[in-house]
């Protein structure tokens, strides 16, 4: 997994010849790989009640084999009780060999809202890039308590994924806010959080609104296709989510009945001296089936529900990025229109010059002096203004055109990475589902095969009187 991430980074960011690239190319044996073992081993056991250091399976090993120049890990949740509120923080561990970082290792604590802040910063800074999604505020399973272990673990896993995606992104990871997030001490960080840089955010959102009203001339076909594809994908995943929930419910009911059944066999065996071993064997097989089914039920959240939910969020992030790209295009088109309008106005005014030579000013005079300027004077004013604004607009149009091309490039690159990432993630999701079922059937098969000899009994009397059952 680490390898593929790395190569993708190398391909896409071919234009970005920064110091970052150089570091990646050299792939020096940094202190990272040496440190990894020790750091992993020395996981700090926090004194708080709910602290644990569980991570999604593969990432533990990744950290050791990882040769990325920026590695991040989210773990070790802790509950903080303050006078006004209670909240959870997570430990963020960073290891880096990048030059712009003063140290090679950082450990900070951040809470969910800090992640929200970071994401907003990234959206503001890179409106035309695909920013990975965050888990929602009341995410996953509505019925889970915000402080329940499952909820916290689930949220932590998603935050970990988010941060890793950011860290692996050649452009996003270089952002100042990211550095601040990963390294700043609590007091320092608080200052950054408070500083207002909302203007840009507000501007981009107003363009969003505009996009709703204004119809773009022609979205590039490729983005139209992406838009359609993403909509379909979102649809399908949503349907899968619904079906999986219905199946889950049915399984719960099935499990209930299994738990009703095996005690009946046990009870029955008490009144049947001869059949007792057979009946007890049945009871045990049914009970084992129940346990296997229980396991399927319990792993539903982590195997299916959570990854699905995350992908739906990711699809929303893609839609947002597409919308932001659209708004850049709209901005450009608006300035083009504006320029056109002004040029036409100028031509019209020039054309009128010949006609209205002797026109007197309109309006009435008050004490001999006219209050309004003459038509000619007005025209002169206008032409003057236009003479200034038109060149400005021309420059603006050029800038915006660049912006559009840039935005398209950025998004294109990000989408390409996303496509392959998505394919792997979805493949992994459904494979997990299939493997879970395979394990379930293997266990049940074993349970039934093992009791068959006990039931058949193998007593002598069975050979004498044949059973009378009709097997049609």
């Amino acid at each position: 997994m680490a390898d593929s991430v790395e190569t993708a980074v190398l391909e896409v960011s071919s234009e970005y010849k920064t110091s970052v690239m150089k570091k990646q190319d050299s792939k020096e044996t940094d202190i990272m790989s040496n440190c990894s073992a020790s750091l992993e081993g020395s996981v700090v056991a926090s004194p708080s009640i709910e602290s644990f250091s569980t991570l999604p399976d593969q990432d533990m090993s990744e950290f050791g084999l990882d040769s990325r120049d920026l590695q991040v890990k989210v773990d070790n949740p802790q509950k903080h009780l303050e006078t006004l509120e209670t909240y959870i923080t997570f430990r963020i561990t960073t290891r880096t060999s990048r030059a712009e970082f003063d140290e090679t290792e950082y450990v900070v604590r951040r809470r969910y809202n800090d992640f929200v802040w970071l994401r907003q910063k990234l959206v503001d800074a890179f409106p035309t890039h695909l920013i990975p999604p965050l888990p929602g505020k009341h995410t996953l399973l509505a019925q889970l308590d915000r402080y329940s272990k499952e909820f916290i673990i689930a949220r932590m896993a998603l935050l970990h994924r988010f941060l890793n995606r950011v860290a692996n992104h050649p452009v996003l990871s270089c952002n100042q806010s990211v550095k601040v997030f990963l390294t700043a001490k609590p007091s320092e960080f608080a200052i950054h959080r408070k500083s207002r840089q909302g203007l840009l955010g507000r501007m981009s959102s107003s363009f969003h609104n505009l996009a709703a009203v204004y119809m773009m001339r022609q979205r590039p076909a490729e983005f139209d296709q992406v838009r359609d594809y993403v909509a379909t994908l979102g649809d399908k995943l949503l349907s899968v989510e619904k079906v999986s929930q219905r199946i889950q419910k049915e399984r719960q009911d099935y499990l209930y009945e299994l738990h009703q059944m095996h005690p009946i066999y046990t009870l029955w065996s008490a009144s049947e001296p001869e059949l007792s071993p057979a009946l007890l064997a049945m009871a045990s097989a049914v009970e084992r089936n129940a346990q296997s089914q229980q396991h399927v039920l319990v792993t539903f959240t982590t195997t299916i529900a959570q990854p699905l939910k995350e992908y739906l969020l990711y699809i929303d992030a893609v839609k947002e990025a597409l919308a932001r790209r659209d708004s850049v295009q709209i901005e450009y088109e608006l300035t083009v229109d504006d320029l056109k309008k002004k040029r036409i106005e100028k031509e019209q005014l020039m054309a009128n010059e010949q006609q209205s030579v002797g026109a007197s000013g309109g309006g009435f005079s008050l004490g001999g002096t006219s209050l309004w300027k003459s038509a000619g004077e007005m025209r002169e004013d206008k032409l003057q203004k236009l003479a200034q604004s038109i060149p400005q607009l021309v420059k603006q149009v050029e800038e915006n055109q660049d912006k559009v091309e840039c935005a398209n490039e950025n998004l294109r690159a990000d989408l390409e990475r996303w496509h392959s990432e998505k394919k792997n993630d979805i493949k992994k999701l459904f494979l997990a589902l299939a493997n879970q079922q395979i394990k379930y059937y293997e266990q049940c098969l074993a349970a039934w095969e093992e009791v068959l000899p006990d039931i058949k009994g193998g007593d002598i009397s069975s050979t004498q009187s044949k059973p009378v059952h009709v097997t049609s």
Binding site: M261, S271, Q437, I460
Partner: protein, 421 residues
Amino acid sequence: MEDNKMKEGFLEKGNANFESRVYEKKDSLLDHMEINVIEAEKRENGALNIRDFYTVYLIETKVTDPEFNGAFSKISALWRRYSEFELLRTYLEVTYPYVVLPPLPEKKVMYTWQKVASDTFDPDFVDRRRAGLENFLLRVASHPVISHDHLFIGFLQQEEGWRESIKETGYLQLAESKLKALSVSVRLKQPDKRFEAIKNYGNELQSNLSNLLRVRARMVERLYGIHKLHANYGRIFSEWSAKEKEMGDGLQKAGHYLDSYAAGIDIPLEEEELFADQLKEYLFFAGALQSVCRRQEMLQYHLERAESAVASRTTEKDNVQKGKTGLMTRLFGSADTDEVRELKVNLLDQRIQEGKSSIRNAQEELNDFAANALIDIERFQHQKVIDLRETLAGYVVLQVKMCRKGLQTWTHIRDCLEAIP
């Protein structure tokens, strides 16, 4: 220890360990004849313009033993409807009250779930009933006592006149009174411990089987739901695969396997209904067992009443002899003369003698019944163990099959997904 054995109704013969006990197989009709219920047909009762439909079942028999001459004919085939089976069974019940009589397949479908046909004309239901009726006939035909009954053989082979000959036995009148008596519960002074134990066992068997059947039906309903929901996955995957380049193939193939996972549950669950039918048979068998116990109680009740009648007459006679008079004479009349007294005593003596002979008869009836019943109950228990073992084994084999199938399908699905580049 003794109680345990009694509970199963087994007669203790020395220290025989049941496991190694040799069970005598007695001769029955089935040793000489083949019996099949091969078909069912819908018929119409066109009388009086009322379209009344009913189903008839074709019974075929063939004598397989050339030396056997207890049959009406070597080969026969005739149609009977369910109500005629009921007639037969009622007749057998009245005629052989000590036998744990094989039950008929259920009249109305019990412990059902959505896929089980409950309409009596549904072809699935009819076929299961056909199988149940065949099973009933085979059980009766393999019974050492009742299989030799002429009216039973007549049922199998005698097309014309069977209904008349059965009515001639007058069993109907007997049936009404006897069956009515069964519903009354009696309090015995000294209940027979053996039959008490058997009755309790019967209750437990009924309770366990009915619970099992109920839960199984609900369980199967859920399992059905789980499988069918996967067809939704299949549909989604198929539609989705069209929009994907690299994932398309894998998704489509996986989708097909998901569809087959959903469809693949139908046949195994149909097969599992057979298991349910076998359990139901034993549920009804438990009822037959209870009937035998109640008949024993009735007989014992009659005996006890006869005994107490004689006891009171004897007391009365004593009183008369000692000159003690009843209330009435003290109020109204004179004391008895010697003549009158002697008359009374003689009358009472007569009654007492009659009563004593009644007691003897009742005792004999009870003893015969008890002896026969216990033998048949032992036969029943023996057969029950064999049958239930087979039923349970069949269920487990079916479960193994279903697991293997599920495993195979999901392995295919996994392979399709793994093949995605």
